[in-house]
Subunit: 140 residues, 4 copies
């Protein structure tokens, strides 16, 4: 079974159409990915910084909205690895409210030297856990 993280949209995040404004989905997906990395053994406050295990920058995002999510809805976001390259990898995020899809995203990260914008090969410790997550997800 894939990892999931639940978010309840704040009043501040809902627009005049009564739905979550589109930009907040990238923030929700960032929060969900933080918790997902944590589930792989990377504590957020020690990981993404100078001296940490690794650091990443987002280089591409694809988002598809499938249906509405509103104030205080229970938004369940499933996260799983989508593609693992040499210096970059992508994750897929699927957000659902009750039994309908609301937003799906593919976020591509490039591995960088912590504290810089210089790309480098995905560190082994991260690669191993990403690959394990693919396997774990497939068998779930």
């Amino acid at each position: 079974m894939p990892f999931t993280h639940t978010i309840r949209p704040r009043y501040a995040e809902v627009d005049m159409q009564g739905v979550v404004f589109n930009a907040h989905w990238l923030t929700y997906f960032d929060e969900a990915s933080t918790r997902w990395f944590e589930s792989l053994g990377f504590p957020p406050k020690e990981t993404f910084f100078e001296g940490g295990a690794f650091d990443v920058m987002v280089v591409r995002a694809e988002l598809d909205w499938r249906g509405p999510a509103g104030f205080d809805d229970e938004v369940v976001i499933a996260v799983r690895p989508a593609k693992i390259g040499t210096k970059s990898f992508a994750i897929q995020l699927r957000a659902r409210v009750a039994d309908h899809d609301v937003c799906e995203g593919i976020i591509t990260y490039v591995s960088v030297v912590p504290g810089t914008k210089e790309s480098r090969a995905i560190p082994d410790v991260l690669r191993e856990r990403l690959e394990a997550a693919v396997d774990g997800d497939a068998s779930g």
Copy 2:
């Protein structure tokens, strides 16, 4: 020449890596598209609401980050129509700082009955101006 809109990233929008946090690009692109629709003859406060000329919902976004943009940089966003369908259309947005690309987006909108989430054919008044914008851009 394509339409452009300039934004200066706020201190609040820049993260610990010293760059604009990714989600804000969707907000910047929304602001740029609002000004672009205005340039086509659709005043923002009269257009996207019940009783207005038309209303749209974002159904898809693709974003590619090419380089950094930081606090108070002069971010110039060029907007042009990318694709015009029956019920939906897409626009392309290219953000530059000085002479380097920072973010490119393709945003797809579906036309809806104002005040609802029900899709409908792009109204003629909008279609005509989108098509004129394609032509104007090509000749610019």
Copy 3:
């Protein structure tokens, strides 16, 4: 004991100084107050809207920052009624990380006719629970 609500600052909410940008505290306090109203028996999605039990608008906020809160800190926000008037009331929110104060707020709301900006006396159902919350807090 006062009601508390816990928030973990998102990466997007932390600025270049490494601390939560000041404006987000009003959003955190809004989320905490939503959960606090819920604890008083007012479900968020049924309460603050046309046809709901009551609606409020924020008319005043005082915020004092006492210390830093950073990315993914466990921020515990205590909420209690601070003052109950005829048409308006105030709540006090105190945010702590571990054993140090980070932000204190006093938010004043005015009761409005749901779906409008017209002020009116605090409805009895709300007044009773606000007063019970004062008593419960005092005895806690």
Copy 4:
């Protein structure tokens, strides 16, 4: 005449009540204060950072909402010094739409060693210009 800065609320910043969500006022006031410091001779990108002329942290904010501001309204924010102490100073910000007040704020800053959270006396270069701004405002 006081310094003014104009902001047009983004669609993303307006809530289901059709008004700017309260937290955004702190962001608007931060943007207005950045432009005001610039008007005093402090370029934003060179000023508030390690090696810059000075740095500040917000320690207190008082906000009073007087009336509604909505999507794309022309919000004119007047800024002037309100109080100048040894290590801290306050500015007053008044936001108007057309001829009605919408939000007033008093923001108190403490002077810190750039790049740190350590307070220090307001540097002379800043104090002189704050005092000149008080005088200029009084004679305006």
